[in-house]
C-alpha cells in the first residue's frame, strides 16, 4: 500500500494536548512540515514559549531549549551567534512577545538577528485562564477586562508586527491565520519563507498567525474560527507587512 499522508519527521509521536479548535496543533504541524521540506531537522533548534505551547518540546523532534517567559528572542540570539550555521526559531504567544517580551523582540529584530519567530496571536493569555492580552480587541471580554476592553482603562490592541517592520534589521514579516484552509496554506508558505530568509542569512523574520482560542473565548470551535475571520482580521489584517528579502 502506498503511503500518501503521514506525520512530519520533525514531530514526535506524542499526541497533542491542545483544546479542540485550538490553532497550536495546526501551527506545530506546519512548522514541522517546513522543517522536513527544507531538510533542516538535524540542524534546527527551537525555543518554546511559556503558556499553552510550553510543552512544544514534547512535540517537535528537534533540539529545544526553554527560555524564561518573554526572553525567547534573547536566548535565540545567544544561541544563533554561537551556532551560525544552524537554524534557530522561537515560538511565542501574544502576551509573551507583545507584552513581557517586547523589548527583547524589537531589539533582536533591530539587530537583524538571523532567527525566525513564530508568533501565535489569539488575543488572550490562554494557559493562565483567559486574561487580557496586549492584542485583546477593544470591547473584548476577558477575565481581567470585565465588560470588555476599554482603551482608556486597558490600552489599545498592540500591533507588534507593524512595530517590528519599522526596525531596519527585520527582513520579512507576514500576518496570516489558520482559521480556514486557505489561511492554513498561506501560513505554511509564510513559515517556509521566514525560514528561508534565515537560511539565506538575510536578517530577522517573523510570521504572526491569528489563531482561535475557543476555550477562553467561550465559543464553539466553529464560532471561534469565524470570529477570527470576521472580527479579528479587521484589527489585525492579513498581509505581508514587510518583505525586503
Amino acid at each position: 500500500m502506498k503511503k500518501i499522508f503521514g506525520k512530519p519527521d520533525a514531530l514526535k509521536d506524542n499526541p497533542f494536548h491542545y483544546c479542540p479548535g485550538c490553532g497550536h496543533s495546526i501551527i506545530h504541524r506546519l512548522v514541522a512540515e517546513v522543517i522536513d521540506e527544507l531538510g533542516i531537522k538535524d540542524r534546527t533548534i527551537g525555543v518554546p514559549p511559556a503558556g499553552c505551547a510550553v510543552l512544544a518540546y514534547n512535540y517537535f523532534d528537534v533540539d529545544m531549549c526553554e527560555a524564561p517567559h518573554g526572553r525567547a528572542a534573547a536566548v535565540a540570539t545567544g544561541m544563533k551567534r554561537i551556532l551560525k550555521d544552524r537554524v534557530v526559531f522561537t515560538y511565542q504567544g501574544d502576551g509573551y512577545i507583545a507584552a513581557i517580551g517586547t523589548a527583547e523582540t524589537i531589539h533582536a529584530a533591530n539587530r537583524g538577528e538571523r532567527i525566525t519567530a513564530i508568533f501565535v496571536n489569539n488575543a488572550v493569555y490562554g494557559m493562565t485562564g483567559g486574561q487580557m492580552a496586549p492584542t485583546t480587541l477593544l470591547g473584548q471580554e476577558t477575565t481581567t477586562s470585565p465588560g470588555g476592553r476599554l482603551p482608556l482603562r486597558d490600552g489599545f490592541p498592540l500591533d507588534l508586527s507593524e512595530m517590528l517592520a519599522l526596525a531596519a534589521g527585520s527582513v520579512y514579516i507576514e500576518r496570516t491565520s489558520v482559521s480556514n484552509p486557505k489561511g492554513i496554506i498561506r501560513t505554511k508558505k509564510a513559515i517556509r519563507k521566514a525560514f528561508e530568509v534565515q537560511l539565506e542569512d538575510k536578517g530577522f523574520s517573523l510570521v504572526e498567525i491569528l489563531s482561535a482560542c475557543p476555550t477562553n473565548w467561550k465559543m464553539s470551535p466553529k464560532d471561534a474560527v469565524r470570529w477570527v475571520d470576521e472580527t479579528m482580521t479587521k484589527i489585525f489584517p492579513l498581509k505581508v507587512i514587510k518583505d525586503v528579502a
Binding site: 526553554e66 534573547a74 545567544g78
Partner: protein, 356 residues
C-alpha cells in the same frame, strides 16, 4: 605573557576570561564595571570566533548567556548591583537548567540606585541563590589582581565541571585598582572536553531538550535533590580561605575582598601594638569555608566580621562558630571605605574588652 603585567582589575578579569576560553560576552553598561565590557568588545573585535553583544538590558544579556551556554560556549556577563538584581531571574534558570556561565558583580552602594562607590551589600543575594527557587551559585571573592586572574580561570572550569553558574564578587575599588599580574597560559576552547548535553542540532543523534519546567512535583523534587547533592559535593571540595597570622591570634578579623585588604592593614597595626590579631579571609563565599574557621575556635576567643555593609557575612561566621566564641561585627555600608586605622581602633577596643 608569563611575565608580570600591570593592569586594572576589570581588565585582568577580561583577559583571564579570554584565556580561559570565554568566547561570548553579553552585557549592559553600568558603573563601576564598564571597563570590563569595553575590554571584551575590543578584544573580541579582533577575534573571528568570539561574540560580543551590548544588549538592550541586563535581562536580555543574561538570557543571551542562557542561549550561548546551551549552545556550548564558555560565556560571561558582568554588571554591578542593580544590574545583577535584574539578572537574577536568568541566573535561577541557569541553575535549574544546569548551564555553566560566569557572572561578575562589581558591587556598588545600595539598595536601590545607591551610588557607584565600592560596597559589599550584595553578599546575601550572591550566597543565598539570589533569584527564586532552591539553588546556589559558586561565589568567588578575589582580593588581589592575581587572584582575579586565577579565580576567573577556576570559575570557568568549575562552571563547566559542575554545570553551574559561578559568580565573581568584587567591588568598584577592586575593578579600578592596578596591580601586577601573571596570567595563566591560554586555553584553546576547541580542545575543551565535549559537552554531551548541548543543543546544537541533532545531527547523528536523537533530539535533546534543555528545560526547567517539571510540572510533576516528584520530578521537580528529583531536580531539587539532584542539585542539593551537587551542592553538597561542591561544599566538600571548593571552600577556600587565606589565614593570615591566625596561629597565635586571640582576636581574628573575618573579611573578604577589598574589606580584607583594609583588615590586613588593621592587623599589622594591631600587631605593632602587641595585640595577637589575625585575619581570616574567605576566598569562596559560597560555599563558605566554615570548617577551617571553626577549627580556630580552639585558641581564638573573639571573631570580628568586618564588611562594607551593615552585616551580612557575619551570619555565616556565627553559623561556623556555633556560639562557642564571641562574634562581633564592624562595618561601613553605602560606599564608605574604612581606613585600616579606623578598623585597628575598633579591634583594639574589642581586644581589650571594651564595648565599641
Amino acid at each position: 605573557m608569563s611575565e608580570k603585567t600591570l593592569m586594572r582589575g576589570t581588565h585582568v578579569l577580561g583577559e583571564a576570561a579570554i584565556r580561559a576560553g570565554c568566547r561570548a560576552y553579553f552585557g549592559y553598561p553600568i558603573t563601576p564595571q564598564n571597563e570590563l565590557p569595553e575590554y571584551m568588545a575590543s578584544a573580541f573585535a579582533r577575534m573571528d570566533d568570539a561574540v560580543f553583544i551590548q544588549a538592550e538590558s541586563e535581562i536580555a544579556s543574561i538570557n543571551m548567556v542562557i542561549g550561548a551556554a546551551a549552545a556550548g560556549a564558555r560565556v560571561m556577563t558582568s554588571s554591578s548591583s542593580p544590574g545583577i538584581s535584574l539578572k537574577q531571574e536568568g541566573i535561577s534558570y541557569l541553575a535549574a537548567m544546569e548551564l555553566p556561565a560566569v557572572i561578575v558583580n562589581m558591587m556598588r552602594g545600595g539598595p536601590g540606585l545607591g551610588n557607584i562607590a565600592p560596597a559589599q551589600g550584595d553578599y546575601f543575594q550572591a550566597t543565598r541563590g539570589g533569584g527564586h527557587g532552591d539553588y546556589r551559585v559558586i561565589v568567588f571573592a578575589p582580593a588581589y589582581g592575581q587572584e582575579i586572574a586565577d579565580m576567573t580561570r577556576q570559575a570557568f572550569d568549575l562552571a563547566d565541571y559542575y554545570r553551574i553558574p559561578v559568580m565573581i564578587l568584587g567591588d568598584g575599588m577592586m575593578g579600578q585598582m592596578m596591580e601586577p599580574v601573571v596570567f595563566p597560559e591560554p586555553i584553546d576552547p576547541a580542545k575543551l572536553p565535549e559537552k554531551e548535553w548541548v543543543v546544537n542540532g541533532s545531527k547523528g543523534r536523537s533530539s535533546r531538550i534543555i528545560l526547567s519546567l517539571w510540572l510533576d512535583p516528584p520530578k521537580e523534587e528529583e531536580l531539587n535533590w539532584r542539585l542539593a547533592r551537587k551542592y553538597s559535593a561542591i561544599t566538600e571540595v571548593i571552600p577556600d580561605q587565606e589565614m593570615y597570622l591566625t596561629d597565635d591570634a586571640e582576636l581574628v578579623l573575618v573579611a573578604y575582598g577589598t574589606a580584607a585588604r583594609i583588615a590586613k592593614g588593621a592587623v599589622h597595626r594591631a600587631r605593632e601594638s602587641g595585640m595577637k590579631v589575625g585575619l581570616y579571609r574567605p576566598k569562596t563565599l559560597w560555599p563558605f569555608p566554615s570548617k577551617a574557621l571553626a577549627k580556630l575556635c580552639d585558641h581564638v576567643r573573639h571573631f570580628m566580621a568586618f564588611e562594607m555593609s551593615t552585616g551580612q557575612m557575619v551570619e555565616d561566621v556565627r553559623l561556623a562558630v556555633e556560639g562557642r566564641r564571641e562574634v562581633s561585627f564592624y562595618g561601613r555600608p553605602g560606599g564608605v571605605v574604612s581606613t585600616p586605622e579606623e578598623v585597628a581602633a575598633i579591634v583594639s577596643s574589642a581586644y581589650h574588652g571594651k564595648a565599641n
